[in-house]
């Protein structure tokens, strides 16, 4: 490897954020906090107040990622939202809102454990925040820790006994863990404190959700006694009937839903359930107006269209059914359950057949057949299943939290997409300038991370690729440096510095042909012996032996006994597979100068390739004796030791490699792999997670990380890694085609 010293290059900041113009008439721009923070950062840079600049850029990152998270939440893209809130939470010190949003998204993604981890810390930091306690309790329930949830609520209730929401949540928690007496007592206290019909409706709903239908009916009827027009009481009575005994009591449910609609005509939830109940009761003609009404509302979803489709089909309108089922499929959730989708395809196929479109029906039947088990489950796709598995809007088992997407909720999806693009560009600028600040402090590894983040968001920012190339080069991350510099040259082909750096980066990544091509075209090569030498190396290793020989002949004619040149000759022989010639030249170099750099390392590599592991280890140790800082030799020695079964020694060597180069992805990978083999999965994960960050496209790293997670019982994370392996393999296959 060609070692180069760091390059002193001044990188320019990308300035130009304009402060938002205030306007009383215009609605607030969701991007305003980002723009304000960017403008403040740039003012601070101009004033040479770097600490303030850093702080404000981080504010901009926080505000920007929060907007991205909010828009993703509004669009139902919860994985993207999680990613965005995760970035926001690591942008600034006081990131409680981001962490809370992250926990909420984790809950939406059914990852209760992750939410618990975050909320536990937040609750500890805000011990008097009852809402946070309730959210933590909700997360604990999702993580199947209902007892712990109750304990958290007991604490919160003790701190704020007059907080009715917490008291209600605690009583509901008691129901969940079957502490009926405690629940009854708390509900009585609540009813005494708020002796209103609405209170009994809430209590009735809580009993219903806990499957205590008789208690639910008593509470709901009490509510109706106090106020015959109280909302939702009839609704919950209807749902309780179906939840308890299924469609057997569907007529009773229909009666209750009709009473609910008499109190609140057009209520969407009651209209939907009444429509569904009519379908289940085969009273399709009565169902149709209700289902048409709910399906026509903005935001109508899969369930509305699916029941409308069933209703239309039963009424002999197959084309109407086809239309409705197609809409049901189009609005299916981002991560639908297999059974729901399979069933929808099956129902669509039936409608298509009835409409006379046999080909399309066959195709849909085939899709549905892929989940045959789901078809068998069709009979369960009833009102009962909807109520017991999906929950109904006003009566979910826990009070529904709202992921407040703020102003972004008022935007159309298209406006949100435009907004996100603007935010991404702003974020990229903030990352870029933070990266340049780090580069100016010679923190090149950090700089390259930040600049890479900028490039991920908006690779087309002016001079971003060049800055990234410089930072990576100086952080000795030659692969990424070469990639970034190649892109920089596309935009600025005349940039001689970029070309030269690219040549050297290519040399270090063994892209010798590219290095030779660039150095040949560089007028500086003829004048600069160092570059001439590098050119020679590139020629040797790129199979251009004739040109290399000519170059080296002229060099050897004046430096025949030069040990370094003999090492180079040895490397040239080795490169061409002439190991005997290589060994001879290298040994001559060692004879001329026993501690000549790289000779023993190259011998070690040759012996390793020949399978002479003991000789390889001896040569590499000899190299390290005279050049203990040769990290490549040490890493190679670790590899040889690992191949030889000396895992303990390999770990010692890798520790020293990582001491010198903490960001060495190969060393992290090998360390993790060995630790995993030795049964230290937790330690392995620590290294492999870093390796995955450093080399996110290395399938081997993700595979080992998946294995490590699996050994630790972290199944969801393991699956994610194995999925990533498959993705990378698929990409590679795609790339090779």
């Amino acid at each position: 490897m060609l070692r180069v010293r760091r390059l002193a290059i001044a990188l320019p900041f990308l300035l130009g954020a304009a402060a938002p113009r205030a306007s009383a008439q215009q609605p607030p721009d969701p991007l305003a906090p980002v723009t304000v923070a960017m403008a403040a950062a740039e003012r601070a840079l101009a004033d040479d107040e770097r600490q303030i600049a850093e702080s404000r850029y981080r504010d901009a990152l926080y505000a920007g990622w929060m907007v991205v998270g909010a828009t993703a939440s509004a669009d139902g893209r919860f994985k993207d939202a999680r990613d965005a809130f995760s970035h926001a939470s690591t942008a600034i010190v006081d990131s409680g809102d981001a962490l809370q949003s992250l926990a909420m998204v984790d809950l939406r993604l059914d990852d209760g454990e992750a939410a618990v981890k975050i909320l536990t810390k937040l609750v500890a930091a805000h011990p008097r925040d009852a809402a946070l306690h309730r959210l933590l309790a909700q997360a604990l329930v999702a993580a199947r820790q209902p007892e712990e949830a109750v304990q958290i609520l007991v604490e919160a209730h003790g701190t704020a006994p007059d907080d009715m929401e917490t008291a209600f949540a605690l009583a509901t928690g008691y129901l969940r863990v079957n502490k009926m007496d405690a629940a009854h007592a708390l509900f009585e206290q609540l009813a005494a404190a708020r002796p209103r019909a609405e209170t009994y409706v809430l209590i009735g709903r809580a009993y219903r959700d806990a499957g205590r239908y008789e208690e639910a009916r008593v509470a709901l009827r009490k509510a109706l006694t106090m106020n015959p027009r109280v909302r939702h009481a009839h609704y919950y009575l209807g749902t309780a009937a179906v939840m308890q005994e299924g469609v057997v009591r569907v007529e009773e449910a229909i009666g209750e839903f009709q009473k609910e609609l008499a109190i609140e005509p057009g209520d969407p939830a009651a209209s939907l359930l009444l429509g569904m109940a009519f379908v289940e009761a085969h009273r399709d003609r009565e169902a149709l107006p209700f289902l048409k009404e709910v399906a026509a509302r903005p935001g109508a979803g899969t369930r509305e269209y699916q029941y409308l489709g069933r209703c239309e089909l039963a009424l002999g309108n197959p084309q109407g059914a086809v239309d409705a089922f197609r809409k049901a499929l189009a609005t299916a959730p981002a991560v639908p359950t297999e059974s729901q989708l399979g069933n929808l395809h099956y129902q669509l196929a039936q409608a298509l057949r009835a409409a006379g479109d046999a080909d399309a029906a066959t195709s849909e039947f085939a899709i549905a057949a892929a989940s045959a088990a789901d078809r068998a489950d069709t009979r369960r796709d009833t009102l009962e299943r909807y109520l017991t598995e999906d929950g109904d809007a006003p009566g979910a088992s826990m009070p529904a939290f709202s992921l407040d997407a703020g102003a972004t909720m008022r935007l159309t999806p298209e406006e949100r997409a435009t907004l996100v693009q603007r935010v991404r560009t702003a974020l990229a600028r903030a990352y870029m300038n933070l990266g340049i600040m780090q580069a100016q402090e010679s923190q090149f590894a950090r700089a390259s991370d930040l600049l890479r983040s900028a490039a991920d968001l908006d690779p087309s920012l002016p001079r971003l690729q060049y800055s990234l190339g410089v930072a990576c080069f100086n952080a000795q991350q030659f692969g990424p440096a070469a990639a970034a510099l190649e892109r920089a040259l596309v935009d600025d082909p005349g940039n001689a510095d970029a070309r030269r750096m690219l040549a050297l980066a290519s040399l270090n990544t063994q892209a010798f042909a590219r290095a030779a091509e660039l150095l040949k075209a560089d007028p500086e090569t003829a004048r600069n012996p160092t570059l001439q030498y590098a050119y020679g190396v590139a020629l040797v290793h790129s199979g251009q032996a004739a040109q290399a020989e000519s170059l080296f002949s002229s060099l050897l004619s004046t430096h025949a006994d030069n040990p370094e040149l003999n090492v180079l000759l040895g490397e040239a022989h080795a490169e061409q597979g002439d190991f005997d010639g290589a060994v001879a030249a290298l040994q001559r170099a060692i004879t001329l100068k026993p501690d000549v750099a790289d000779a023993n390392r190259t011998l070690g590599v040759i012996y390793m390739k020949q399978g002479k592991l003991a000789d390889a280890a001896a040569s590499l140790r000899a190299e390290l004796k005279s050049h203990p800082d040769d990290v490549v030799a040490r890493y190679t020695l670790a590899t040889v030791l690992e191949m030889n079964g000396s895992q303990g020694e390999a770990i010692d060597e890798l520790s020293r490699v990582l001491q010198a180069r903490p960001a060495d992805a190969d060393a992290r990978y090998l360390m993790g792999k060995i630790l995993l083999e030795r049964g230290s999965a937790a330690d392995a994960v620590e290294h492999l997670e870093i390796a995955a960050r450093l080399a996110p496209r290395d399938a081997n790293v993700h595979y080992q990380l998946g294995q490590a997670y699996q050994k630790l019982g972290r199944g969801a994370e393991a699956k994610k890694e194995f999925d990533r392996v498959q993705e990378l393999k698929a990409e590679r296959r795609g790339g090779s085609e």
């Binding site: 490897m1 060609l2 070692r3 180069v4 390059l7 990188l11 320019p12 300035l15 740039e42 003012r43 840079l45 101009a46 004033d47 040479d48 107040e49 600490q51 850093e54 702080s55 981080r58 504010d59 939470s89 690591t90 006081d94 990131s95 618990v116 536990t120 500890a124 930091a125 933590l136 604990l140 007892e147 712990e148 304990q151 958290i152 100016q440 950090r446 991370d449 060049y466 940039n495 510095d497 030269r500 050297l504 600069n528 160092t530 570059l531 030498y533 590098a534 190396v537 370094e564 040149l565 180079l568 000549v596 750099a597 000779a599 520790s655 990582l658 001491q659 903490p662 330690d683 870093i690």
Partner: protein, 314 residues
């Protein structure tokens, strides 16, 4: 060979490194310049006055950091902390400001602010080993050993082979009675710094914990030879003497250990055992009581700590 090449690649700046967008605020720049001159002339009071004005009236974090630096040099620790708090109000997410606060808090044994600051820093800079190390040290100072071990292990993963990290990790393992983990860790620390008395003493504790009393006695004696008042080494030697039933010698070294680390309950517990063996029940009871008091004090300080790592339901 190739590595011996020194590249003399002189790349010229592509654009001005200083941002050209706006001229610096003259007052601020002038104040900073005058403060610099005052320092050079040895007039530190004037320098501090000017920097304070720049911080207060011109919102200069640069000035406040320089002021805190001068205050620390003049041992005005409380004033320095106040200055840094002002800097944090202006730049709450600045690494320079946060790390200065964390280090000053640590130096002043203010565990809670140090921990809170370092927890944020490990979130903002997850790959920076130094902050995980400092967090581990702060957590150790607060007595939260399990959390300290997590932080120190992370530091050791991010940047392996740092002697101070290894020593701190070894000490934390010892405190948690994880002696089989402590031993190899401290062995490595000693390889990196063979003259460290603290490491030798900690190693002797790990050896005693794993039952290797001969090695423990040897290493404790080595540490005491270099630092006769070393608390850990005297404690270990006392435990070894107790095991050897050499009670008067055990008592003498344990008394040194108790005096050297008056907050630690460990020597008190061992002294209560020794005095009981010596038939001095009154002294034994007194030391047992002191042990319990010190243990309670330690638990109280831990309870006062921001319970960031607590587990629900526990």
């Amino acid at each position: 060979m190739i590595g011996a090449i020194l590249l003399t690649l002189a790349l010229q700046a592509q654009a001005p490194s200083a941002p050209p967008a706006r001229a610096a605020v003259p007052d601020r720049a002038a104040l900073l310049a005058r403060a610099g001159e005052a320092v050079q002339q040895g007039n530190r009071a004037e320098a501090k006055r000017l920097l304070e004005i720049a911080g207060r009236d011109r919102q200069s974090v640069r000035a406040l950091l320089q002021l805190a630096h001068l205050q620390l040099e003049d041992r005005e620790t409380a004033a320095a902390m106040q200055t840094l708090v002002k800097a944090r109000q202006l730049a709450p997410n600045s690494e320079d400001v946060l790390s200065a606060i964390a280090e000053l808090s640590l130096a002043g044994r203010a565990a809670v602010p140090a921990i809170l600051t370092l927890e944020s820093m490990t979130r903002l800079y997850p790959d920076e080993a130094r902050y995980s190390y400092l967090l581990g040290v702060a957590l150790m100072g607060a007595g939260d050993l399990p959390a300290a071990i997590d932080a120190l292990r992370k530091a050791n993963t991010l940047q392996p082979g740092q002697r101070l990290t290894l020593l701190a990790l070894g000490l934390a393992y010892n405190n948690q009675k994880l002696f089989t983990d402590a031993y190899p860790t401290l062995r490595k620390a000693l390889d990196l710094d063979p003259d460290s008395v603290e490491t030798i003493a900690a190693l002797s504790e790990a050896e005693a914990g794993t039952g290797d009393l001969n090695a423990a006695e040897r290493d404790a004696a080595r540490a005491i030879a270099r630092a006769p008042q070393n608390a850990t080494a005297n404690l270990v030697l006392g435990m070894v003497r107790l095991a050897q039933q050499r009670y008067p010698e055990a008592r003498d070294v344990l008394l040194i250990a108790a005096q050297a680390d008056p907050a630690s309950p460990k020597p008190e517990y061992q002294l209560s055992l020794v005095y009981a063996r010596l038939g001095d029940q009154a002294s034994s009871d007194r030391h047992r009581q002191q042990y319990q008091e010190k243990l309670r004090a330690m638990e109280a300080s831990l309870a006062a700590l921001h319970p960031a790592t607590r587990t629900p339901g526990k």
